[in-house]
Every structure is written in structure tokens, then in C-alpha cells.
Amino acid sequence: MSLWITLAVNSIALGGLLFLLSAGFSLIFGLMRIPNLMHGSFFMLGAFLGVTLLDRRVDMNFWLAALLSGMITAVIAGLIERFLLRRLEGQVLPQVLLTLGFAFIIADVCLMIWTGDPWQPPTPPHLRGAVQVAGLYFPLYRLVIVAVAVVVAIALWIMVDWTRLGAMIRAGVDDAPMARVIGIKVSRLFTLVFALGGALAAFAGVMGAPYLSVYPGLDFEMLPLALMVVILGGSGSLLGALVGSFVIGFLYNFGQAMFPDLAYVILFLPMLLVLVLRPQGLFGRPL
């Protein structure tokens, strides 16, 4: 019995992490139509930066480290968007190659700096231990991940649906030339969205580091998960990303526990079903 509960808690925690990762991916993909294949790399880069910032020699506060890592990655993402990706607006193939090229470069830079060994920063002291709920013990850190994901989800939802900034972003997506005519700086907004997506991915990386550990290859392990979340949930939909993340989180953990050999095939099934029955995803617009 307790095995199932542990699995369920792990699944929810992974779901929370996946949401932090794929919310940015979904926004970039759904709003800007850019297939950002370096999103997993942002996650890994953020996690590695977190490893350094949380190291004994620096010993930064955990939340400060996560934010700083997110900001550094946001700057990198913003620069790539501003100087390279923007010139390729609307050209899918070049965008794919450029982001893939950077994914390889980032992977190799990380390998050079942080070597090929896995790193696992310690769980921050104030988040260790377990919480007792209804006679059962839950590891505190996993619950914190979920809480953070929920807070970020609400913040993003408010930003996109209820603020002036969100309205301008949506206007830029729906009809960029018209939005420009009425004075919205669409290009600047897109840079902002891209940087925000990178920041969220890196933040997720730091959050996930004490739990998943960080190693080379993590980037291309997370990227397909984010892809599947977006295919499941539908591109550009935050609600879709949320639901998709938890579905994938559960399938991944339960699949690995029950059928370790076939974990990847099990992940594949819901994607297959959604593609056949509802190609635009559960909550999305057509791809």
C-alpha cells in the first residue's frame, strides 16, 4: 500500500517539475510557433548552474540559487532569440536546426565544465524531512515542488489571461502586423516570452536537481517528456500543459515501477491515443 502512495507522490512531484519545464515550451511553441529543441538544454544548464551555486564553496540560499540560475539562462535564451532566432521568423526548418545546434553546443559546454559525472546537490536543510498527513509520511521536498508548480501555474495564468502584458502577447500572436500597427512591440514581447520560457526551464532544473540528480544526457531525456506533455495537452495551452505534465508524471513513475523494461512504450501509448483521437491535444488548437 505504502509503495503505491510513494509512487503517487513521486509522480505528482515529477508532474510538477514537468509543468515548470513544459509551460515555457508550450508558450514558445504555441505562441511564437518556434520548435525550441534546446528547451531540455535550458533545464540541464539550469540544473548544472544550480549545482555550482549550491556547492559548499558558494553556498547560496536555495531559492536565490534557483532564481539566479533562471536569470542567467533567461539572458542566454534572450540573446539567442534576439540575435539569431528572430532572423528566421516563420522558417521552421532553420529554427529547428539552429535550436538543435545550440542544444549540442550547450550539452558539450556542460560536459566540459561539469564533467561526465552525475551531481546531486543536497536537499536544502529547511526542506528536508517528512510531513505527516492522515497517519502517512510524505517527503516534504516533493510536496514543495508541487506547491511551487501550482504557484507558477496560477501566476502564468494570471499573466497571460488577466494582465495588459498577457493581452499584448495574445494580440501579437493572433495578428502580429496589426498588433504592431497599434503600437505593440511584438518582437520585444517575443524575446521576453522566450527568455521567460528559458528561465522557467532552468528554475525547474534547479528544483529537480536534488531529486533527479544532474548528468550529461539529461537534456535529451527531458526534451521528449516536454514534447509529449505538449502533444498531450495541446500547444499554447497552460491548462493542457498542467494536465499533460501530471499524466506523464504518473505514467513515467508507475511504468518504471511496474514494467521497467517497457517504461518508454507505456509513455508512448497516451500520445498515440491522443494523436489518433484528438490530434490538436486535449486543450489545444490544431498543430
Binding site: 538543435l100 526534451l223 521528449p224 509529449m228 505538449v230 508512448f268 500520445m271
Partner: protein
């Protein structure tokens, strides 16, 4: 026009002679093996080019199909089946896998297609990596012998090279026929004017599906040759890097040309062999080349060079204005 056709056939004949006699020129088994690799990856790049260049569908999952053929053959050989059975089964399994791949990926076009193929490719990698009881995981599968078609031994580098060359010639021949055929024209039609093709009564979905099968078939052949060449296969073959390299070959050489993917394959394989001899950072070099090509030569090397040489050639004789007018006229 007849003159240029003659020139073209002359070049083809010259290239065939050079390729056929290459083992005697190179002498060293290492270089012959590198050439075999180039030919194998050229087949893969040509197969991918059918999809990327002519049908306008960008796949990042071809390493998966490539690996499925290799794994099927390797596992059947290990289980004690003969070479003929293993090879036929490998091709059959790859075609079935391509059909599934096509049905799923064709739910979308453009970015959606690419995302789905990427996800499928990563899943195939995941299966190869994690399904230890079937694929032996990261340790890979060994293949003890190469096949002996018509009783000829392929264990030596030059013999294997010549056999690969025969398959390569078949591949490029069928591709040339495919490109010039009415079917090839309809494929290009679905790439450029999907709606008009639909209105003209073509079944766009079915045409794309057939293209995926053709592409999958040749990808499987390349995968089969690759496993015979290395006599070993591991999940690394199915990794995204392989798909990305294949795409780089197609795009750096020039999409929708016959020569482009071959040139691209040669460049990538040679660079990979040379670079990995001096530094370990092949992935970084690969990434940098991607970024540079996209920024400075988005059309690829072969079309770029053809354009430059044509301009240079005629420019000397007739001056630039007429060339421009002619280029515009050609486009109409």
C-alpha cells in the same frame, strides 16, 4: 541542353569509374572503410531527403527506423537465423514501423510532424536503451559474421565496399527515377501547393504516406548495411544525434537535390572521423556547423555552389544583367 546532358552523363560515368576503382587507389583498409561509411550514410541521407526535400516533411526520428532495421537483423542473427531470413525480416519490420510512424506523424504537418517524429525517435531510443532483456541495453548486440551474397565473402574492407557501392548505385538509381516520375512530381506538388493538389483530386495524405514508406525502406537498407559494417549495434545508433547528423547531411548538401545529400554525407563522415581523431568535441563542432550553415548558407552547399558557378561561368561571357534575366525567365 543536349550539351549539358552529355556533360552530366560524362560526369556520372567518370564518377562511377572512380568509385569502382577506389579500393585500388586508396589501398589502405582504413580509408576504404571510411568510404563505405560515407556510402551507407549517403543512402540514409538520400532516404531522408525524399521526405525532407521533396515532400517537405522534416523528420527527426529517422535514427529510430535506421536502428530498428539494424536491431532486427542483429537480434535474429544472434538467435540463430540465417542471413537471408534476418535481412528480409529486418526490411519487413522497418517497413511496418515506417507505416506506424507515418500514420502517427501524418496527423500533423510542419512543426507538428517534426515534434511527433522526434518523440517517436526518442521512444525507440528509450526502448533500445531500457528494454534490457530484449536489446541487451547499453551493451548492444554483436553480429559475428557478414553475409555472403552469391558465395562472395564480404569480410574484407574492399569487398564490403564494392557490395555497398552496388546497393548505393541501386539507391541513387531509384531516387533518380522517383524524382523524374509523375509520382515524384505529385510529391513535390503536395509540398508546394497542398490545397491545389487536393482540389485536383490527389490524395495528399496517401502520397505522403507512400513517401514515408519509400524513405523508411531505404533507411532500413542503410541500417542493415550499417550493422553489417560495424558488426555491432547499440542504442547510440538510435540517439537523436544520429537523426540530427542525417538531417545535417541533407541540409548542408542541399535539400531536394540528388547530389546534395551525398556531398553532405561525405562531409559529415569525413569531418567526424577527422575531428574525433584530434578532439573529442564532435557534438560541439556539429552544433557550430548547424548554426553557421543556417546563418550563412541556408540553401546548402550544392545549390549554392551551382548558383555561384553558373553565375561565374556565364558572367564572364555575357555579363550579369542577362544572367539575371535568364534566371528570372527560368523560374517562370
Amino acid at each position: 541542353m543536349t550539351q549539358s546532358t552529355a556533360v552530366r552523363w560524362g560526369v556520372v560515368a567518370g564518377a562511377s569509374v572512380v568509385l569502382l576503382t577506389l579500393p585500388w587507389w586508396l589501398g589502405n583498409a582504413y580509408y576504404i572503410n571510411v568510404t563505405s561509411q560515407i556510402l551507407i550514410f549517403a543512402i540514409l541521407a538520400l532516404a531522408l531527403n525524399v521526405l525532407v526535400g521533396y515532400a517537405g516533411l522534416v523528420s527527426l526520428g529517422h535514427a529510430g527506423l535506421f536502428a530498428i532495421a539494424g536491431y532486427t537483423a542483429a537480434l535474429l542473427l544472434q538467435a540463430g537465423y540465417g542471413h537471408v531470413a534476418a535481412a528480409l525480416a529486418a526490411i519487413a519490420v522497418t517497413i511496418v514501423a515506417s507505416a506506424v510512424f507515418g500514420v502517427l506523424a501524418l496527423r500533423a504537418t510542419g512543426i507538428g510532424f517534426l515534434m511527433i517524429t522526434l518523440a517517436i525517435g526518442q521512444i525507440i531510443w528509450g526502448v533500445a536503451y531500457r528494454w534490457q532483456s530484449l536489446t541487451n541495453g547499453d551493451n548492444g548486440v554483436n553480429v559475428s559474421t557478414r553475409p555472403q551474397p552469391f558465395g562472395l565473402s564480404l569480410s574484407k574492407a574492399d569487398a564490403f565496399y564494392l557490395a555497398t557501392l552496388v546497393v548505393f548505385a541501386l539507391a541513387i538509381g531509384t531516387m533518380a527515377v522517383f524524382v523524374r516520375s509523375p509520382f515524384g512530381a505529385s510529391v513535390r506538388g503536395t509540398r508546394d501547393q497542398e490545397r491545389r493538389m487536393n482540389a485536383l483530386g490527389y490524395n495528399v495524405w496517401l502520397i505522403r504516406f507512400f513517401v514515408i514508406l519509400i524513405s523508411g525502406f531505404w533507411t532500413g537498407i542503410a541500417g542493415l548495411l550499417f550493422v553489417y559494417y560495424n558488426q555491432f549495434i547499440s542504442p547510440q545508433v538510435a540517439a537523436l544525434t544520429t537523426s540530427a547528423e542525417a538531417l545535417l547531411m541533407v541540409i548542408s548538401g542541399g535539400t531536394a537535390t540528388l547530389l546534395g545529400p551525398i556531398v553532405g554525407a561525405a562531409i559529415v563522415v569525413i569531418m567526424k572521423n577527422i575531428v574525433s581523431a584530434y578532439i573529442v568535441r564532435w557534438n560541439m563542432v556539429l552544433g557550430i556547423i548547424f548554426v553557421l550553415i543556417i546563418t550563412f548558407m541556408p540553401e546548402g552547399l550544392v545549390p549554392g555552389a551551382v548558383r555561384l558557378s553558373r553565375w561565374g561561368w556565364r558572367g564572364v561571357r555575357t555579363g550579369r544583367k542577362e544572367v539575371l534575366a535568364e534566371a528570372v525567365g527560368e523560374r517562370k
